[in-house]
């Protein structure tokens, strides 16, 4: 079976949902003729036509607002942000209109807002951001961040079929670096379910997105060099969080390290540490530690960005510190 890249998996997922359900359509900047800045929508214009693959003006707020209106009229819009950094322009529509609509007057807004997030490609402060926590802090939204091609496809399908607005974060570093065999038949990855990527008894690493691979490499080294067996859990969904999976892994090893590429203060790691504290404190054999980006914008120059991004070495250092408890 052929290997499918992460970006191809996203595309397949959207494509299949558009074939399956004529309510599904996509709108955004350069999604039509150009096929999207990262080619996620390539070929869709020819297949589905201009009615369902809509090139828009540079108006993120209008893109999201129009998606909301269409969702209220029974459609299943997918709004692409050319880079997820530009989601800030649509912040009001997302957090005040889409997120609160169901709660206020019962009208759900099933829609997906997706786009490339994350660093590692020297994109600088405006093409590298991880904006998840702006939205994780907004009840009414769901936020997912797949790390594998299988999940990329399964989660985009789940997001499109979901009854509520979903922010779908595609890590651009993974677009063409990650590939795997994925099933031909239809499947979804349910939103709100984490996945154990590696079993271990000594230490748990909770992570998501591109950091999954750094964590797995670190786990491999820990096992090889010190015999430390690390459990690696891929959160996949940040809102809702899979609390059961988090608590289970915490109880299993008693030592938890949370790793994310997002900056430190207000990152999801703090929330996870609080949950673990509140619910399974007596199972812990050490503090919940964090490996995150520092509290700075994402810098452009290679040595700065390398310093900024968490990586295997930083994870190893924290994991060894934790293992020593």
């Amino acid at each position: 079976m052929a290997l499918t890249t992460y970006v191809e998996a996203i595309k397949q997922g959207i494509w299949e949902e558009m074939e399956r359900d004529e309510r599904v359509f996509i709108l955004g900047e350069d999604v039509g003729v150009y096929g999207g800045a990262f080619k996620v929508t390539e070929g869709m214009l020819d297949r589905f036509g201009e009615m369902r693959v809509i090139d828009t003006p540079i108006s993120e707020s209008a893109i999201v607002g129009a998606a909301i209106g269409a969702a209220l009229m029974g459609m299943r819009p997918i709004a692409e942000m050319q880079f997820i950094d530009f989601i800030s322009c649509a912040f009001d529509q997302i957090t005040n209109f889409a997120a609160k609509n169901r709660y206020r007057w019962g009208a759900g807004v099933p829609m997906v807002i997706r786009g490339p997030s994350g660093g590692g490609v020297h994109g600088g402060p405006y093409h590298s951001q991880n904006p998840e926590m702006y939205f994780v802090h907004t009840p009414g939204l769901k936020v997912v961040a797949p790390a594998t091609a299988y999940d990329a496809k399964g989660l985009i399908k789940a997001a499109i079929r979901d009854e509520d607005p979903v922010i779908y974060l595609e890590h651009k570093y993974l677009y063409r670096r990650i590939k795997e065999e994925i099933p031909k038949e239809d499947y979804i990855v349910p939103i709100g379910q984490a996945a154990v990527r590696r079993e271990g008894r000594d230490l748990t690493i909770l992570t998501y997105g591109a950091m999954l691979y750094q964590a797995l490499e670190a786990a491999e080294t820990l096992a090889r060099e010190q015999g430390i067996q690390t459990e690696v859990v891929d959160l996949r969904s940040l809102l809702p969080l899979d609390k059961d999976a988090i608590l289970k892994a915490a109880k299993k090893t008693g030592k938890v390290l949370v790793v994310h590429e997002d900056t430190r203060t207000g990152g999801i790691a703090g929330e996870i540490a609080a949950i673990i504290n509140e619910e399974v404190f007596e199972y812990l054999d050490g503090p919940v530690l964090r490996v995150t980006a520092p509290d700075t914008p994402v810098p452009y120059s290679p040595p700065l960005e390398d310093f900024f991004l968490p990586n295997k070495e930083k994870i190893l250092k924290a994991a060894r510190q934790l293992a020593a408890y």
Binding site: E50, P57, L72, M73
Partner: protein
């Protein structure tokens, strides 16, 4: 020499707008029954809002702020006359009212008692106590709820219209806002989006000259909100918003354009906010003379006089209409006051879709 290389087939620009079609001159005059209906709804709106603002609010029975459209009733009523309803999802129009368009709710079929329950934060209000005052919507009545962030509903209304275009129906999206909202980025993005995609939206601005305390001259440098239309390549008109027949006519023409695939229209109706921004605001910053001047242009009295002139109505009939309204409202208030508040735990439900 600009790029015009592709002729768009689907959702895309159909025409380029150097030749914005002038509005036809034919004036639409509603039939007698419609005239009476318009007067009735203007009066009902005024009476309902007066109860809310001047009675229930002062009695402490309203939860939160109160924003009324006193003096602006002709705009919502004249527009709502053109809203198609009662024919199902592929037939009915969709409406995004502003916070000064009470009449639209009433005319779309929301009973006054439900509105009162909404204002009182009761379980049976349109938002079940989750949001207050004019922040209410109900898709069964084809009403989209307003949010406090002005201008947000512009792209949303455009998105509704996009759906109509995708479905190939001749439904129309009605979008209301004040002149203050026109300064928002979303207003610009939404109008431009609708213009480029030639969407069936009627943009209806009630220019009541004050955004809270900000006079329209501090809001924009143009004389008329409709001056902005040309910048989007859509037709725009400014009309007397205190003459319901003028509103009826102008909206009718814009709706016709929209139904015929001719794209959006920007209509500005000049009016005056005969009250503060909200019930707590004494509008001390508004020169008194303006209130006096606009009082003389009161849309309800003008409509009433006109109908009397047409011999559709005499003083007795007016009185009968008014006492009928007062009676209806007495019942509505009593009903709303008897409604329970939501139970506290309901705070937690309905954030996300819940399986039935």
């Amino acid at each position: 020499m600009l790029a015009r290389d592709r002729k768009s087939q689907g959702v895309g620009p159909r025409t380029v707008s150097s030749s914005v079609r002038p509005a036809t001159d034919a004036t639409r005059v509603p039939d007698d029954a419609s005239l009476l209906k318009m007067l009735y709804y203007m009066k009902l709106t005024r009476a309902l809002e007066t109860r809310i603002e001047r009675k229930l609010y002062r009695q402490g029975k309203i939860v939160g702020g109160v924003y009324v459209g006193r003096g602006q009733e002709a705009i919502s009523v004249g527009a709502a006359m053109h809203m198609r309803r009662g024919g199902g999802e592929d037939h009915d129009d969709i409406v995004s009212p502003s916070h000064r368009d009470m009449a639209v709710f009433l005319m779309q079929g929301v009973p006054p008692e439900k509105i009162l329950a909404q204002y009182m934060g009761r379980k049976t209000g349109l938002t079940r106590g989750r949001d207050g005052n004019m922040h209410m919507g109900d898709l069964r009545h084809r009403l989209i709820a307003f949010v406090s962030h002005l201008g947000d509903s512009i792209p949303v209304a455009a998105g509704c219209a996009l759906t109509f275009r995708m479905h190939g129906t001749d439904q129309v999206s009605f979008c209301f806002f004040g002149e203050g909202a026109t300064s928002r980025g979303d207003w610009h993005e939404g109008l431009n989006f609708a213009a480029v995609l030639q969407l069936p939206v009627v943009f209806i601005c009630n220019n009541n000259q004050y955004a809270y305390s900000t006079h329209v001259s501090r809001q924009m440098k143009v004389e008329r909100v409709s001056d902005r239309a040309r910048g989007y390549g859509m037709p725009g008109e400014s009309k007397d918003g205190n003459d319901v027949l003028v509103v009826y006519d102008a909206i009718g023409r814009a709706v016709e354009r929209a139904r015929h695939g001719e794209g959006p229209t920007l209509l500005e109706f000049l009016t005056f906010r005969m009250t503060g921004h909200s019930a707590h605001d004494d509008a001390g910053y508004v020169p008194k003379v303006l209130f006096a001047e606009w009082e003389r242009k009161d849309p309800i009295r003008r409509c009433e006089d006109d109908l009397k002139g047409r011999r559709l109505l005499d003083a007795g009939a007016v009185q009968a209409m008014e006492s009928r309204i007062e009676g209806e409202l007495d019942e509505a208030v009593a009903w709303a006051e008897a409604q329970p508040y939501p139970s506290p735990e309901e705070c937690l439900t309905g954030v996300y879709h819940e399986q039935a």
